[in-house]
């Protein structure tokens, strides 16, 4: 696994001696360990100034901190499979990848990574919410990729241990990463689902910058499935291109060839969308992106998306292609539509 080189590592003084912090520090590359700065609170620095998003390319810092305030939040409507309550918990901020449409570019005022190490409190809160709302879903990866840094944080084992005790609750780990070595060593649980975002080969290469190519993602999915892990898929965001229907036909064919589509827990579909703030940042950061070729327009909720007619056309086309490949209709849902 490639080690990410952080320019500086900021650690909150009060958690320096916490076991999880020490473990993370010990797994950092030597060069990053030479640039550790001890601080009172990550909020004294992170988000204090507007740090340009693209500085993540050559000036990325890591903050190891304690998450205060709300640790588990209810997810918005249409976030996951309907009929159940969905929550996400906050274990870190920001992502090492650089997907051109990513909403994180307009969300935090810095691309720096923050990893929270007070897992005991986060786990306690998950337990309490799970008790209050049996059968709920919990999602990691709302503000970060769930697996990309898991070799550094070592958190995967903790999640499995926790959700073994909560068999009625479900955990979704959203990712584009192929960092599955740790996962392959863990005994699978039916209520822990690794959900992979997959896009067409062209989008993985030219839009999901710095992410693993499609064939590597599919290989990771296959290995997890073979190990007995539950896997979900997000065909989200679907992005228009002059050959979008052919490209998505190929994608679905590839999925059906390379992984066990019949064993997939669910598949979510979504079309590219931006809030106004994120769209403004996207235009500034990626003026030459192929996403601009699509007919993006302001929608009913002020978000920037394709016109409804085009969205429906694209979603139903991909849905039908999946059904044609024997995916059960009830396992496919539209995300944020």
């Amino acid at each position: 696994m490639e080690m990410i080189l952080f320019k500086k590592v900021f650690i909150e003084k009060n958690i320096v001696n916490v076991e999880t912090t020490k473990n993370i520090v010990s797994r950092l590359p030597k060069k990053s360990r030479e640039n550790i700065v001890y601080i009172d609170s990550y909020q004294d620095i992170f988000g204090k100034v507007k740090k340009p998003y693209l500085q993540k390319r050559d000036n990325l810092n890591l903050f190891i901190a304690e998450k205060k305030g709300v640790l588990v939040k209810e997810a918005p409507e249409a976030y996951g499979l309907s009929g159940e309550k969905h929550f996400y918990f906050i274990n870190s901020y920001n992502c090492i990848y650089e997907c051109e449409y990513c909403y994180l570019q307009g969300f935090f005022n810095s691309p720096d990574i923050v990893v929270f190490t007070n897992w005991d409190e986060i786990k306690k809160e998950i337990k309490s919410v799970a008790k209050k709302y049996p059968g709920s879903w919990f999602h990691a990866g709302e503000f970060s990729d769930s697996l990309a840094l898991s070799h550094l944080t070592g958190e995967l084992g903790h999640y499995f241990k926790l959700f073994k005790e909560l068999p009625e609750a479900k955990l979704e780990l959203r990712t584009k990463s192929i960092n599955i070595r740790e996962a392959l060593e863990i005994d699978p649980l039916n209520n822990v689902i690794f959900s992979f975002s997959v896009s067409t080969e062209d989008a993985c290469k030219n839009i999901d910058l710095k992410t693993p190519p499609l064939k590597h993602r599919l290989k990771a999915i296959k290995e997890l499935q073979d190990r007995g892990h539950q896997v979900g898929l997000h065909l989200d965001p679907i992005i228009w291109s002059p050959n979008w229907s052919e490209e998505h036909t190929h994608l679905v064919e590839k999925l059906s060839r390379e992984i066990s589509l019949d064993k997939v827990s669910y598949i979510s579909l979504g079309v590219v969308r931006f809030t106004e703030t994120v769209y403004h940042q996207f235009k500034k950061n990626y003026p030459a992106s192929s996403i601009h070729q699509g007919e993006l327009t302001k929608s009913f909720d002020q978000k920037i998306r394709y016109p409804r007619a085009l969205r429906n056309k694209m979603l139903s086309f991909v849905r039908e292609s999946l059904i044609f490949r024997e995916v059960k209709k009830e396992l496919i849902y539209d995300c944020m539509e």
Binding site: K8, F10, V37, I39, D44, I45, K48, V49, K50, K51, P52, Q55, N59, N109, H292, Q293, E295, T297, K298, S299, F300, Y306, P307, R308, A309, L310, R311, N312, K313, S316
Partner: protein, 353 residues
């Protein structure tokens, strides 16, 4: 025109000596202009407020300025930078009060000036005297510290003018005698900056840019049969980001011009714009055209129809008034003509190819 800015005269001395045609501007003390060389020089003064005011005034006096290059000395906030190193700024932050951990939120990214230089983030400090603790806090945000760059960047940004910053390191992280070092070495720093400038700046780098028109803009705005309004010119700029002029498009445009009955340039331009709009937003354009020809055209003096302008719903709105049975009959018969099912299917994308 390129405007060089320095906080203090000693930093600018070598430049004033070299560019002999720079003449003091009668309306602003410390602003020097050489129209022949397409060059200006401003001694902005110290402090972000002072520098912002000086540059704002200079830009108002000389609208030809289209590039600002801030030059001068900066302190190092990291150990690896040594006195005399020439570096450039990447992003500028404003440090308000290190003890109170106060930073200004707004920052300004700079345009890279020279490929061969290492670039670092600059913190412009509001206060002059800094302790090691102050430097330590500011070092979380940048590697260089100065007293003016943020103010200059704010003034330049307000007028949408590009700015770069090239700095020479005047004091290292652990130096205490900051002012003393700068004073003693000012002449040397100025000469080094001038040498760097002469070596790395070609005159065409800061020539006034001719507004770059896309091929589509150029083709349409110079077409002898067309007349574009200002609104159309602005729209064309937007369309040009997505639509590239092709031979097929040229043929289509010429065909439209030939086919249309009217010879008025305004009518011809309107028809061409409809064609371009269809290329730019094909789905929305076609929904609009269907709505117009199949629904809105049914409006009459008794009932008026309108549609969701975003075409996010297929709801058809109408308003009208009934004063007699005849009105009722007219409205009823009009309503029965509405292609409700077809419209719903069009808005849902069922008919899209």
């Amino acid at each position: 025109m390129l405007l060089l800015t320095f906080a203090h005269r000693p930093e600018a001395r070598a430049f004033l000596g070299h560019f002999k045609r720079l003449k003091s501007h009668p309306r602003q003390k410390n602003l020097y202009i050489s129209p022949e060389e397409n060059l200006g020089l401003l001694i902005s003064g110290e402090g972000f407020l002072q520098s912002a005011m000086s540059l704002t005034q200079a830009l108002a006096i000389c609208p030809e300025i289209n590039y600002v290059l801030n030059m001068g000395v900066a302190g190092a906030l990291i150990n690896s930078l040594n006195v005399g190193d020439t570096v450039e700024g990447k992003t500028i932050y404003l440090g308000k009060d290190a003890k109170a951990k106060k930073m200004e939120f707004k920052s300004f990214p700079l345009k890279p000036f020279c490929k061969n230089l290492y670039s670092f983030d600059i913190v412009t400090s509001e206060q002059r005297a800094l302790t090691q603790q102050d430097k330590s806090y500011f070092s979380h945000f940048g590697e260089l510290i100065d007293r003016e760059a943020w103010g200059l960047a704010q003034a330049a940004s307000m007028q949408n003018i590009t700015m770069s910053s090239v700095k020479i390191i005047s004091d290292e992280l652990n130096d205490e005698e900051f002012c003393q070092i700068v004073k003693e070495s000012a002449q040397k720093f100025s000469e080094d900056l001038l040498a760097f400038f002469l070596e790395n700046t070609s005159s065409n780098q800061y020539q006034k840019k001719v507004s770059e028109k896309s091929e589509l803009e150029h083709y349409l705005s110079s077409h002898p049969r067309l007349f574009l309004t200002t609104a159309q010119k602005n729209l064309l700029k937007k369309y040009s980001k997505k639509i590239k002029l092709s031979e097929q498009m040229i043929d289509d445009i010429e065909q439209i011009i030939t086919d249309i009955n009217s010879k008025r340039p305004k009518d011809l331009s309107k028809a061409i714009f409809e064609y371009i709009e269809e290329k730019y937003s094909p789905v929305t354009y076609n929904l609009g055209r269907f709505g117009k020809t199949e629904i809105l055209k049914l409006s009459n003096q008794k009932i008026k129809f309108s549609l969701d302008p975003l075409f996010e719903t297929s709801a058809i709105h109408f308003s009208g008034n009934i004063s007699s049975e005849k009105d009722l009959d007219l409205i009823s018969s009009t309503l029965t003509k509405l292609p409700v099912r077809k419209w719903d299917s069009v808005v849902n994308g069922d008919d899209l190819v």
